[in-house]
């Protein structure tokens, strides 16, 4: 049984079709990289899954629910946590408050408090800098620190699936390593499912897992990340981009 299933999804902005009839399934615990050149529709696809930009056509199922056109908060409550492109920190809230927003929705559970403390602790362990500045205003953080914060925050919701748009954006190489280590660890421990958009296929090839390549709003290739790294089709897809 797949956790996430897209069938025939199309996304439009006015007259522009950003994503065209995409079908895709993702099993629980799977790691999927989406790569592709600029404007391929990767971010749009993620936004549609998260319910931010409802698709113009097609259907999206998540955790046994049809979530097509559902509100983002409902989808989040089903266990999908999305880190959008660009750093959407709550600039005027402190770091800890930012993290707590993500933890808010399970408040009715009995062991909520303990779980939140635990989750906070885990985030701080991954990104010690956040602990040091837990009471600092998030908007004042450096670019990379904000990126750490949003990734940490996404994990606070105790999700089943994390969708991250360009996690390495603005991160120092060693921090990028840590982010991936953490994600892979979670995937191992909790069967967390990962959906990661990266412009560059380098990371996918290092981490392994499944990878799809999008271009012009369509999925061109779907296969094993490491194998694809070498493939000619891949190279061609990228170079084809030069013409705009």
């Amino acid at each position: 049984m797949s956790l996430l299933a897209l069938s025939d999804v199309t996304i439009r902005y006015g007259r522009l079709t950003a994503v065209r009839n995409v079908a895709l399934t993702l099993a629980e615990g799977e790691v999927l990289f989406i790569t592709g050149p600029n404007g391929a529709g990767k971010s749009s696809l993620l936004r549609a899954i998260a319910g931010v930009t409802p698709p113009a056509g097609g259907r999206i199922d998540f955790a046994d629910h049809d979530i097509t056109g559902r509100a983002p908060e409902d989808i989040a409550r089903l266990g999908l946590s999305m880190v959008p492109e660009g750093r959407d920190v709550f600039a005027s809230l402190t770091i800890e408050e930012n993290l707590m927003v993500g933890a808010g929705m399970h408040v009715k559970e009995s062991n909520w408090r303990a779980r939140v403390t635990n989750a906070l602790e885990e985030v701080y362990e991954t990104f010690p800098i956040l602990r040091d500045r837990r009471h600092a205003q998030a908007g004042l953080l450096s670019g990379g620190q904000q990126q750490m914060l949003v990734i940490g925050r996404a994990l606070m919701t105790n999700p089943r699936l994390v969708a991250i748009d360009e996690p390495s954006l603005g991160l120092a190489p060693n921090i990028t390593d840590q982010v991936y280590e953490r994600l892979i660890a979670l995937q191992g421990q909790r069967k967390l499912t990962l959906l990661i958009v990266e412009q560059s296929s380098t990371r996918a090839m290092m981490v392994g897992g499944r990878m799809i390549l999008m271009r012009g709003g369509e999925v061109l290739i779907d296969g094993d990340a490491r194998a694809m790294g070498q493939s000619e089709a891949m190279q061609a897809a990228y170079f084809g981009y030069g013409e705009h």
Binding site: Y13, G14, R15, L16
Partner: protein
């Protein structure tokens, strides 16, 4: 790449079309030939002047000003001081300096001086206020308006305080108002395509990047403030001549909000929006009035509850904004129809039906 024609040449269509539109309104008034209708059109032209004046600053800088009607007030009183018969001034405004009491200028000279007077004060206030941005700037401009209003409402000898100052020559001809409105449109256009105008529009959403581009933001804003202050002052002068009385309260919150509403409903970032906002909302108001009057003919006057038309106006405004949050024109300008591709906007809604005849 194709050689670009001059900026003026590329954009001149906008003021020309707008002027033609205004001329059409004036001709309509002449054809109908009724005094009240003539006055209605005069009113519309006055609002065009004020809203266009507001656009010069608000539209280009993105800073909402609640203060511009203060300049209208300055202009209106300046016109009163300059054009009333000395006899009237002697009795009503004895605190004026003797030379001013003795002076009586024709209305157009008064209007020009009124514009300069308002511009002078825009310069003085602007020097202080233009350091602010965002909502702080808006509040500061409101404080400026309130100061002007308080002073003019109480400076008995010079402004007649809250009492209406009468004796201002009344203009019933539509042409001076038309000419002034067209003049305002051309000034606004000239400013918008000037270096200052472009710099301001760039800085509107990205002040940080603008200063990294060498733009001296307070200075550019000050220029716009002064130009718009002058237009508002001219509008005030003509306002005075249109009804023959001035009081400070005429130039306070009511007029501030109606002009701001027209600008925003029309499309804050667009000169065409400023003009169309006035024309459309004013026509709507007038139509609602006729509807109301039409219903009341024959039956007794108090059969119809007051305020229905205002309620309708409010609802229409909300509705327009709900469907076009950037206003009727958005950021676009009227232009000659041409097939220029319009890139999809990242935010805001698509406006396909306007694409014809509209160019950026």
């Amino acid at each position: 790449m194709a050689k670009r024609t001059s900026i003026a040449g590329r954009t001149i269509a906008t003021p020309l079309i707008l002027s033609a539109l205004l001329l059409a309104f004036a001709l309509l008034a002449v054809m109908v030939g009724s005094k009240p209708f003539n006055q209605t059109i005069i009113d519309i032209f006055l609002r065009v002047i004020l809203v266009v004046g507001l656009y010069v600053f608000v539209g280009n800088s993105g800073v909402i000003s609640f203060g511009h009607i203060g300049f209208t007030c300055l202009g209106a009183y300046a016109a009163a001081w300059l054009t009333m018969p000395p006899m009237m001034k002697q009795t009503l405004l004895p605190g004026l300096p003797d030379w001013l009491i003795a002076l009586q200028l024709p209305y157009w000279a008064g209007a020009i001086l009124a514009a300069l007077w308002a511009a002078l004060w825009a310069g003085i206030f602007g020097k202080v206020l233009m350091r602010l941005s965002g909502i702080a700037a808006s509040i500061a401009t409101f404080a400026m308006l309130a100061m002007i209003n308080t002073i003019y409402s109480n400076w008995e000898d010079v402004t007649g305080a809250t009492s209406s100052v009468v004796g201002i020559p009344i203009l019933r001809s539509i042409w001076p108002f038309l000419i002034a409105a067209i003049l305002a449109v051309f000034i606004a256009w000239g400013h918008a395509i000037s270096r200052t105008g472009l710099a301001l529009r760039a800085a509107r959403d990205e002040p940080t990047a603008a200063s990294a581009s060498g733009i001296d933001l307070p200075r550019e804003r000050l220029i716009a403030f002064i130009v718009s202050g002058a237009i508002m002052g001219m509008g005030g002068a003509l306002f005075a001549h249109s009804i023959g009385v001035v009081t400070p309260d005429t130039f306070y919150l009511g007029l501030t909000f109606i002009t701001l509403s027209m600008l925003v409903v029309g499309g804050m970032g667009s000169l065409s929006g400023a003009v169309l906002g006035v024309l459309i909302l004013s026509s709507l108001i007038q139509a609602l009035r006729w509807l109301e009057a039409g219903v009341s003919i024959g039956t007794s006057t108090f059969a119809i509850p007051n305020g229905v038309q205002e309620i309708a106006l409010g609802i229409v405004m909300v509705a327009i904004l709900a469907f076009r949050s950037a206003g009727i024109m958005g950021n676009r300008e009227l232009g000659w129809p041409k097939a220029r591709p319009v890139a999809p906007a990242t935010t805001g809604q698509q406006q396909p039906e306007l694409n014809k005849g509209v160019s950026k």
